[in-house]
Structure formats: structure tokens, C-alpha cells
């Protein structure tokens, strides 16, 4: 215990399953950020006018969805 009421409450309310979920979710977000950066950098090397936009959009949407899931999990779990 850290004797800080807010942090202690959070730690008490978390189970191993929830901590694992948050850890995996953070790992996924970091991975998707790397994917998005790579897609942007590859777009500079090679570009197909229409399809590159679709791929970048998909990568961005996946990242947004993973972040939303993380925020939603904080609120609900």
C-alpha cells in the first residue's frame, strides 16, 4: 500500500485479469503506433494514389479503436 487513498483504491479494485488486460492493451497500442509510423514512412517510398490512403486510414482507425477500448476499459472495469 502506498497510503495514498486514490491510488490504493485503484490497486484494490484491480484484479490480475484486469491488470493483464491493460498491459496487453497498452502493448497493442504501442504496436499499432509503430505500424502507423511505418505505413506513413513506406508511403513516402511507394505510393498508389488511391490505395495508400485506404491503408493509412485503416491503420489510423485501428489505432483509434485500440485507444478507445483502453479508455472505455478504464471507465467500465
Amino acid at each position: 500500500m502506498l497510503n495514498i487513498p486514490i491510488i490504493d483504491n485503484i490497486i484494490n479494485s484491480l484484479s490480475i485479469a484486469k491488470i493483464t488486460f491493460f498491459a496487453l492493451n497498452i502493448a497493442l497500442i504501442v504496436f499499432l503506433i509503430v505500424v502507423f509510423i511505418q505505413v506513413r514512412s513506406l508511403e513516402r517510398i511507394f505510393k498508389e494514389t488511391h490505395d495508400s490512403t485506404i491503408i493509412r486510414t485503416v491503420a489510423g482507425l485501428m489505432l483509434i479503436f485500440a485507444i478507445s477500448l483502453f479508455l472505455l476499459a478504464i471507465v467500465i472495469l
Partner: protein
């Protein structure tokens, strides 16, 4: 009285429909490379880094789409596992977690499967070989963090050959094209590209054209 037989007028074209595509191709030989295209001659709307203004892309190559079968099957099987678990009413009470936590895990699981499929698709999508009227360009992208861009001029190409081994490759008509060069990079490999004999013929044509010029 109606005519029973009318002889073809030899001065007129026999079939106008057949002539239309030829004339259209002659005026506009460019083809649109689609997202899942693995082979495209004279592709339009394709640009690469360091492309010169007067440089035209003649050939656009990727691995044959059939080479993606393995990871597609894995992704489909992984996607079906939770559905099968739900259908068989697999009991998760021993985990001692709330249903809402399981639901969040399920969404996270599908996100991971989707990410796996997306990264595999990117590995295919950004593994590109281009043949222009001046050089050949090979863009390699593996395992998310490895990128390699290599190019050599047509003048440096010494030999082009292709290998097509196995029934699947023969059936789907894809193989490996090896371009031997005199530059610092000794050879360029276009792996599992469709119509390898056509690729070799086009590159050989370019070499001959350069030598004659």
C-alpha cells in the same frame, strides 16, 4: 425481295467491336493497378521515391496473392476459435472473472487477430518490384521494422532468368525472377511474382533496346 446472301465488303472493317479495344489500348496503354494487383503492365497512379520526371513505370510486381493463403487461414481459424467456444458453451467460471472483463478480452483478442492480419497484408503490399524504362527498383519490407530499397539501371543488368518449381507454382503461373547485375548489388530477386516468363521477356526487351540505342 430480301437478300439471301450478302458478301462482306472487304474495304470495310470486318468487326468494329474488335477494333475498338485495340485503338483504345494504343492511345492509352496504362492500366490501373488495383489494391490486390500482383502484376500490372504500364500501371498508372504509381509513384516511388527518387522517381525522375521522365521516368515511366513499365511493370509493377508483387508476390502472387496465393502466397498469402497461409496467414489468411491462420487469421480465419483464430477468428473462429471464440465463436466455437461460445457455440460449445465453454465454461469460463474457473477463471473467476466477470462477464464484462471476458467481453473486453474478446474485443482485445479480435483486435490482436486483426493487427496480425493487417501486418501480414502490409508485408505483402509493400514488397514491390518495379521495372521502369531506366532502371529496376526492388522495395522489401519484412517484419514491420525491416525496409530495404534497392535499384539498378538497365545498363547494369547482365542477365535475367526465372525459376518455377512445383505444381502449385506452375498451376498459378508464378515464380522467382533473378536479375544479375554488374553493380554493387550482385543480383535482384523478384520472389513469387506472377507470369515470370513475361517479366523476363520485358526486361530482356529493355536490355536489347538499350544496347541497340
Amino acid at each position: 425481295m430480301p437478300d439471301i446472301f450478302v458478301a462482306d465488303n472487304k474495304d470495310k472493317p470486318k468487326n468494329e467491336h474488335k477494333q475498338q479495344p485495340e485503338s483504345r489500348n494504343y492511345s492509352s496503354p496504362h492500366n490501373r493497378a488495383r489494391m490486390l494487383s500482383a502484376f500490372c503492365e504500364y500501371p498508372s497512379g504509381i509513384y516511388f521515391a527518387n522517381q525522375q520526371k521522365d521516368e515511366e513505370v513499365l511493370l509493377f510486381l508483387r508476390r502472387h496473392f496465393i502466397t498469402n493463403t497461409f496467414w489468411i487461414i491462420i487469421a480465419v481459424v483464430l477468428s473462429l476459435i471464440p465463436i466455437i467456444g461460445i457455440l460449445l458453451r465453454f465454461n469460463l467460471t474457473f477463471l473467476n472473472v466477470s462477464p464484462i472483463t471476458i467481453f473486453f478480452y474478446l474485443i482485445l483478442y479480435y483486435m490482436v487477430v486483426l493487427t496480425f492480419a493487417f501486418v501480414q497484408f502490409l508485408s505483402w503490399y509493400y514488397n514491390i518490384s518495379l521495372v521502369t524504362d531506366k532502371r529496376i527498383v526492388d522495395i522489401d519490407f519484412y517484419g514491420l521494422l525491416y525496409k530495404n530499397v534497392a535499384s539498378t539501371t538497365i545498363n547494369n543488368i547482365e542477365d535475367v532468368s526465372y525459376t518455377q518449381v512445383g505444381a502449385i507454382r506452375s498451376f498459378f503461373d508464378y515464380g522467382d525472377v533473378v536479375v544479375q547485375t554488374a553493380g554493387t548489388i550482385s543480383h535482384f530477386d523478384f520472389l513469387a511474382v506472377p507470369h515470370p516468363q513475361k517479366v523476363v521477356r520485358i526486361i530482356e526487351g529493355l536490355i536489347t533496346k538499350r544496347k541497340n540505342a
